[in-house]
Symmetry: C2
Subunit: 435 residues, 2 copies
């Protein structure tokens, strides 16, 4: 009863994508008994016009909504989707197609959406980041060094007033940002309203005492209308950012908040909690690269991409590819041996997203992060400042010293000779001897 031939209609090795097609790169493994042709045909079918049996009637415009698997190399296939399939400006619908039912097909043992190439014809219905890297640097008045920030640690448990005190110490150590962690929203012991009010007071004090701009990434995650209310409150207390857990909140809400945040002049900081539920298995799910591209598309201003050196997963190469993808204007297709790595992408006039490196960092790791990702990034160091032998303020100073040293191409060990806080930090984390 299998209609294998039906799937042939979704495979055409001579097909060349048009300028308006969306192209997806998948890694696939057919299930036992399924040929490569059937596998790639089913991928293109189920992610576009679908079907499973012979039909009596098909629409006259069927050709215009069928995807085509057109290039197969080993376990990789490129699939091209006509622009007509997609609603203008609807990122959730795009995911429902290219990252929807296909992951659950029995005909495939594993399937991974590796990359997506988005044509200008689709991009034009989105606005991308409101501020981008340049806009963020302007807000914070930081010219060329990495933006610095810290989460209070433990990440939850502080009262709003304790939280504000830690924020103050962080800012006074030279940091630009304090940040809520992904699971801190508004709890009985630390209400959102109290936190933003008390932190605003300490921010004003820190700004006055340092003459520097100080800001915060405060987590508004929740039901959409609650997020909108919280965005307005942030604006009312003079904040420049709203932070959203973009995966657990979801694409529809992020799109809604992109508009709300423009209304209130807020930049969006995207925390990616839950991404590793679908991007960690290299043979199945969707890559962090695709998530990061979708977030540039819908318009966040900053997003976590990993460290390559800390406590969380993500290889150096992968993180550099993501960094490039969210910051470059045009990316040529890149492949390594027969494996694809990234597809061609022209971001047109979309602003670059500030890549955020975070997770298990301390001052001794700063050169490694900057050598990998450059200085046009945000670096979050949290336990790595609060765990400093002299406390948070000294810890933040140690990180700022590590950044200064790296910007000046001086080794941390040398720089530490004249910088006590850095010296103590390197001592604590076992980095006094060059690695």
């Amino acid at each position: 009863m299998k209609n294998i031939d039906w799937y042939s209609d979704f495979v055409d090795l001579d097909y060349r994508p048009t300028r308006t097609d969306i192209v997806c790169l998948f890694r696939f493994e057919p299930a036992r008994g399924i040929s490569v042709k059937e596998a790639v045909g089913r991928i293109a079918s189920e992610s576009s016009a679908g079907t499973w049996t012979t039909l009596n009637k098909v629409p006259s415009r069927l050709q215009k909504v069928m995807a085509t698997s057109y290039e197969i190399r080993g376990n990789f296939v490129k699939v091209s989707y006509p622009i007509e399939l997609w609603e203008e400006g609807n990122a959730s619908q795009l995911l429902s197609g290219v990252a929807g039912n296909i992951f659950g097909m029995k005909a495939l043992k594993n399937l991974r959406l590796v990359d997506i190439s988005i044509p200008k014809a689709y991009l034009k219905h989105f606005e991308g980041p409101q501020f981008g890297i340049e806009g963020i640097r302007k807000i914070l008045k930081i010219k060329d060094r990495p933006i610095t920030g810290a989460v209070a640690k433990p990440k939850i448990g502080w009262s709003a007033s304790e939280h504000a005190q830690i924020a103050y110490e962080t800012w006074m150590g030279g940091f630009d940002l304090v940040k809520d962690d992904e699971n801190l929203t508004s709890t009985s012991f630390n209400r959102f309203e109290d936190r933003i009010r008390l932190c605003a007071k300490m921010r004003d004090k820190a700004e006055k005492e340092t003459g520097e701009r100080k800001s915060a990434l405060i987590n508004i995650t929740g039901e959409t209308k609650l997020m909108e209310k919280r965005a307005k409150m942030l604006h009312d207390f003079g904040w420049e950012y709203a932070m959203i857990d973009v995966v657990t909140s979801g694409m529809s809400a992020v799109q809604t908040l992109r508009e709300t945040c423009e209304e209130y002049g807020l930049a969006i900081h995207a925390h990616r909690a839950m991404h590793a539920a679908f991007d960690r298995n290299p043979r199945h799910g969707m890559t962090m690269l695709v998530l990061a591209k979708m977030m540039r598309l819908v318009g966040v201003d900053q997003i976590h991409i990993g460290t390559a050196v800390g406590k969380l997963v993500g290889s150096r190469d992968e993180i550099i590819d993501i960094r490039n993808e969210i910051t470059a204007k045009v990316l040529p297709e890149k492949s390594v041996k027969i494996n694809y790595k990234v597809l061609f992408q022209d971001w047109n006039n979309f602003k670059p997203v500030l890549p955020i490196s975070s997770g298990g960092l301390h001052p001794g790791l700063i050169p490694a992060v900057m050598n990998t990702l450059g200085s046009d990034i945000g670096i979050l160091v949290s336990g790595g400042i609060h765990g400093h032998p002299k406390g948070t303020r000294s810890g933040a100073k140690a990180v700022m010293q590590a950044i200064d040293a790296t910007m000046q191409k001086i080794s941390l060990q040398e720089y530490a000779m004249a910088h006590t806080e850095l010296k103590e930090a390197l001592g604590k984390w076992g980095f006094m001897k060059p690695k």
Copy 2:
């Protein structure tokens, strides 16, 4: 430099959850060199108060926000979370905690959130389904047989008027519902507004001609405010449902639409496209069971749970567990050998969600689906009606006949003797001989 002892604070084998704790069941595999104790300690730590290094200062209420790993059996661990950690009614925040960063920890090779037990103290900030199974049956005036529905196939490509014509044929064959598929929202050739208007016209005609109630699951997926507008339009055209791609739209938007749909008296049909990106690998990610529970929590009225017999993944046992979870009032903890299956759950006054069985069905498979899941379900048969030799209307009739036969405990082959449409369907799909 590892502070393994720190993680001991998050492990207490003598701990017993309080009546207000949220309890999660994880399957875990420690990375090389990581002990079981460190692994389960890190799971509890990163999903609650976190940290990674020794700190100078901890909040006095730390105990009240720390999770505790308290029961380890093989690769399974139960983790208990104090209610204080969680914001009232914020489902996205819950996921950011128990299904967030932990999936990306290097200390674990694999981690899967298997189940979550939600106490009344947390439930009470949510409303659950507005209609539930009883409410849906009342809307559709169907007493005890499965609710039936079909997607137009191919799933995208029809104009709004062709779509309405297929809907009419489906209804005239005896079906209760027509349904949009996950990637059909509003496209240049089939605008949402046109589709709901033209389908409403055909619905009124079909209702008049059959004397039966006819309805539709029309896909409103998009940016949150767009979904709200579309929900209102559905209401204005006399529809009873809104359909949402709940994973690609995201938790925040579903919570928002739960309120909107109550305002407009609409039931919510949850399509789960993308679930298999994180639930398919049995060793990593999050189970469909947890997604289904979260959806009962935030209050959808219907959700896809699989067929156990069609084209998509999902074992019979797993699908029965999910069916039980979204329909029962109280579920006792259940384990098989040393493996946990489901945790205790008391849903209190939350209405049951109608389980939807869908994906690759045809009339011949109806008894298998009903024998597995009972008759308190929705069954979607799409290609399996449109592919009928005599077309959609006859296909729908064949399915209704298969349901009648199964309700009366008569074999399809016997029933087909006096029912032409069923006979032709069984012939086409090779089910004329009993299997």
